[in-house]
Symmetry: C2
Subunit: 296 residues, 2 copies
């Protein structure tokens, strides 16, 4: 199976299951909040995090079906964070993936509640008694813990706070690293960890998966920053190596574009090299390469 075939097949599984968790509630008064959740959760996206959950589960010797609810829970958390991030009091974005943002369609109050609702639904999904047919209670409980820590104040939310502070004053490379490891890295690492947990990986495999996730998470973010600048340059004719917009510290502003390109390649190789404890590495090496070389 090629990388794209594998990603497409995982995406189809996740979208069918997500659609099931968020099926329209026509006869209930609170149907509108389900509709708002569905609007954002079914708006496409790469489904990178759930794909990592499923692939690490498979490569650890587990059944993809067992990991699917946890993959969906993680995607719900990712989606909730996008809805709240787009709010006027946060990034104030009108568009997300080419469509009006949640609050532009449903209003701010419902967008706040839809985000809250998805976060709750993630934990409802992870603790569903139906999972117990395939996943022991101890393992589900550890999965709940992994999800809540990754998305909480010492994980993604912590990263959002550091990001807000970085808007106000320049930060060091070390601080930027912490920011990214929390803001985008925490959920990507949680994806790898959940897959290993459900699949029954060894401790050595779990450590390798976390290292892989750490490397691709960072490479992904640096590539994002590069694309932001190169896109701006193509569009506006700015000089190479100009500071990021509004003076916010980014990898390119701290290291320069050339060093960033090299760093992305290094991280991508480091990610693949980390996978030694897995006898089959599936789509993971190619995924790391493709994230590093993507143009959008």
């Amino acid at each position: 199976m090629t990388l794209n075939e594998r990603l497409t097949s995982y995406s189809a599984l996740v979208e069918a299951k997500l659609s099931d968790y968020l099926r329209p509630q026509k006869d209930s008064g609170q149907g509108i909040v389900y509709e708002a959740c569905r609007y954002s959760a079914m708006a496409g996206g790469k489904r990178l995090r759930p794909a990592l959950v499923l692939e690490f589960c498979r490569l650890s010797g587990g059944h993809i079906e067992a990991a699917l609810p946890f993959a969906c829970a993680l995607e719900m958390i990712h989606t909730y964070s996008l809805i709240h991030d787009d709010l006027p009091c946060m990034d104030d974005d009108d568009l997300r993936r080419g469509k009006p943002t949640n609050h532009k369609v449903y209003g701010e109050a419902i967008a706040v509640l839809a985000g809250d609702g998805l976060l709750n639904l993630a934990f409802e999904t992870a603790s569903d008694p139906a999972n117990t047919l395939r996943v022991p209670a101890e393992v589900q409980l550890r999965a709940v813990r992994v999800l809540s820590r990754a998305s909480g104040m010492d994980g993604m939310i912590g990263g959002q706070i550091l990001d807000m502070q970085a808007e106000e004053h320049p930060i060091s490379r070390e601080q930027l690293r912490t920011l990214q490891e929390l803001k985008t890295g925490a959920l990507i690492c949680a994806a790898a960890q959940l897959g290993c947990l459900i699949g029954g990986a060894t401790a050595e495999q779990e450590a390798a998966a976390l290292e892989y996730a750490r490397c691709i998470g960072l490479a992904f973010q640096i590539q994002d920053d590069i694309l932001d600048i190169e896109g701006d340059e193509a569009a506006l004719g700015k000089p190479i190596g100009s500071d990021a917009e509004n003076g916010k510290s980014t990898y390119p502003s701290l290291l320069g574009l050339e060093r960033c390109h090299a760093l992305v390649d290094e991280l991508s190789e480091q990610a693949s090299a980390a996978l030694k404890p897995f006898s089959d590495t599936g789509m993971l090496p190619e995924l790391a390469m493709s994230l590093a070389s993507r143009k959008s």
Copy 2:
């Protein structure tokens, strides 16, 4: 032990533990979001929900210490809902329990993230491996499920949505009942259920606890509506039985004040009567009476 002594002792336990979960993080950049959580979580309040968790656990034969993390998790969820409810795009409140609301002190962005953070922390707390010394993994997992369902879109959030809709057009008594059962009732019922779950109650006791919680939750809400009107009348000299402010349907507007007073008394008696399956009913009958007769 009198009712007040019991409530004070539970409150002290819960506040010490909450303060521990939310201890200041002085050396980390994300310390500000912990501070914002702490501001709202430690701002007093009746601690009714955690007291119900602890009392039902005790009366079911369990150890209060085992229930304490789950009592705190529920209070975190209650607190997150107040922070988000007070936001400008929701109820737009400047004061809560006589103090400036979270977003008035920390700004809207941090208030959104503090609410999100408390919700995550609730699940982190409920799935803490340290709990496993006292509570089997299966039971903790069921507790996570109870918490997430009660606070989610078919629970409290659903009630918030119905409440927003009730601002816009009149609703029937049946719809008002559903609204209240979700908006305030869901967490109160979850409190009773969590206590029973951790304490190892029988199915019959759990059903009794839920009925007790349903009755006091409703009585509590109706009494709130009564106090709103009687407070307004005392302050503004409005005629008895006038509609609730801005035309929103409430129990007094639908049933009249006299019928509401009677209903609160009935519900309070019904709550105590439900407790037959418990050989010791502790503070519960007196608590039901006191909630129904409270003046503030």
